[in-house]
Symmetry: C2
Subunit: 146 residues, 2 copies
């Protein structure tokens, strides 16, 4: 478990790859983003992407989940106030394997709460060819060392 | 089904309420955001929020899903290039009922593709007391009338 003090500006952390199967794409879409291009391989052929693609919300959540689990924020992340400018750059298709890379962009102790600091991360999700499929900046509230 | 031409700048559209049960919060967290404050009511008591709260990714996806299904973009939404500045303003707790309101902030025909336009929506998710829990701006690619 890392605390706020254990992060260094400019360091890059890399999460494990997440495989997006057709089944996993449809399972997410059914409950959380029921649009034809995420839900129905046949209907998706007529869509903008010419086939099934993962919900951008799924790409966001699932790559972060993999990055988080056992990762640098596990145990110390208290929550997030938000995301700055998220871009979906390339569709994620069945069989794609995506990993999240996070670079520490800024570190700031909380002005009002001495038990926490704010870490701004610059994230990029990349495919097997290291091509970016999504990028965003997100702030995390992280525990300081007691 | 509405096309790009059927939206008016300034109009506000309101989705149906989504009930966030403890079970639904934990179900989402297990697969897509396995952090203690989303996953484990007991562990969540020691967290920043003093109890279980929904993943911000779940609030984002599920309120949009409800807004989308049978709503103004159903059938005409081709996808989204991204989100500008998303803020989680207030935790969503078990029993909260959340609805998404979307205001048409900007309309622009695509410069390169005559079959579509770009609609910038200003979204606000509100609870039963009409208090905002999340807000963001998102761009949608929407079919033009053939």
């Amino acid at each position: 478990m890392r605390h706020f003090e254990d992060f260094t500006q400019g360091e890059t952390l890399v999460g494990p790859a997440v495989m997006f199967t057709a089944q996993a794409i449809v399972d997410f879409a059914r409950l959380y983003d029921p649009q034809p291009h995420h839900l129905d391989p046949k209907a998706a052929e007529a869509g903008l992407f010419g086939g099934l693609v993962a919900s951008g919300f799924q790409t966001l959540a699932q790559t972060f989940a993999a990055f988080f689990t056992g990762g640098p924020f596990d145990g110390s992340n208290l929550g997030s106030p938000g995301i700055e400018r998220l871009e979906w750059l390339k569709p994620v298709r069945p069989g794609d394997s995506i990993r999240l890379k996070g670079t520490v962009a800024a570190l700031r102790p909380s002005a009002s709460k001495p038990d926490r600091g704010l870490i701004t991360m610059e994230y990029q999700a990349v495919d097997d060819d290291d091509q970016p499929v999504m990028r965003y900046r997100m702030v995390h509230l992280v525990r300081r060392r007691p």
